[in-house]
């Protein structure tokens, strides 16, 4: 089953992915800062991910891959 993989260093923390996940499992990690100075997004519960790729489709920075 495909799952979403977030590239935290590419992410700019915009939060768009969060708004489209049907499973509500995407969230910005406020605790973390990547090298560019952003709070990156990530999946809170990867098991729930259905690999729909919505998050990837809206990500302006191609920070998300969806793969097996």
């Amino acid at each position: 089953m495909s799952k979403a993989y977030f590239n935290e260093e590419v992410c700019k923390g915009c939060g768009l992915c969060e708004t489209v996940c049907p499973k509500k499992i995407v969230a910005i990690n406020k605790e973390k800062l990547n090298k560019k100075g952003f709070n990156p997004a990530g999946v809170t519960d990867i098991d729930k991910c259905i690999g729909c790729a919505f998050c990837a489709m809206i990500c302006p920075d191609c920070a998300i891959e969806v793969k097996e």
Partner: protein, 247 residues
């Protein structure tokens, strides 16, 4: 269930756009289209002057950087030299609808066989948020600090509506990338606009309503909401002209 990865026609250079800026989404859709149509080797893109000026860094094909507003003229030059190339421009609303109005209208009237991707974010992003021709009535920008006053600053220009009166236009469609459904529609529209060119149908323009969180002074998520609530009602999505009649 799907798989998803960065399209090949998008270079791996990090996009310079602000967080949440819709330019990035549209870049990806264009790159996917180039991949899917298998035209990477014959495509030549034209970057505008605007936030997308660096588009020449991002598309994995030959690129030219045009003077502000002149992308359709530059594309015309390229296309006339190599008619078998697929030539597209990628332009903002200041670029296409203000300084480049004449070049836009005449490339359209000529039915120049090119594809135009038009990012309407109702503002001049690159220069720090001035009023664009597409800025909404009442919208506050750096150069409409009291809100755009249509009495003195004029009415927004509706590009698809205007261009669809021209005989040379094969396709004029307005889209948005604010949600998955619209992203899917936009992708289809962009693909059709490229396919039209391959089929020698003439001038195709896809207008994409987009956010500029930075200059709108909103978070990326708020910006999408503002777009939904303000821009889409003013600039209705849909096909304004399709020479084929089918969509």
């Amino acid at each position: 269930m799907a798989t998803f990865k960065r399209p090949h026609s998008l270079t791996d250079i990090t996009l310079h756009y602000c967080p949440g800026c819709n330019h990035g989404i549209v870049h990806r859709l264009v790159a996917e289209t180039i991949d899917e149509l298998g035209i990477e080797g014959t495509t030549v893109g034209v970057a505008p002057v605007g936030c997308a000026v660096f588009a020449y860094n991002y598309f994995e094909c030959d690129m030219q950087e045009a003077a502000h507003g002149r992308a359709p003229a530059v594309a015309t030059g390229i296309k006339r030299v190599n008619p078998d190339n697929v030539v597209f421009t990628y332009q903002g609303d200041g670029d296409l609808a203000a300084i480049g109005t004449a070049e836009t209208v005449h490339a359209a009237a000529r039915g120049e066989n090119i594809t135009v991707i038009f990012i309407n974010n109702a503002i001049y992003g690159m220069t720090g948020g001035q009023m664009a021709p597409t800025t909404l009535p009442g919208q506050v920008t750096q150069t409409s600090p009291y809100g755009r006053d249509v009495q003195t600053q004029g009415y927004p220009l509706k590009i698809c509506e205007m261009l669809s009166t021209l005989d040379g236009v094969a396709l004029a469609e307005r889209c948005a990338v604010n949600n998955i459904k619209n992203i899917t529609e936009t992708k289809k529209a962009i693909k059709k606009a490229f396919q039209n060119q391959i089929d020698k149908k003439g001038f195709s323009i896809i207008e994409v309503l987009s956010t500029c969180p930075t200059n709108w002074g909103l978070s990326p998520v708020e910006a999408l909401k503002w777009l939904e609530e303000n821009m889409i009602p003013y600039y209705p999505l849909g096909v304004y002209k399709d020479k084929d009649g089918d969509k």
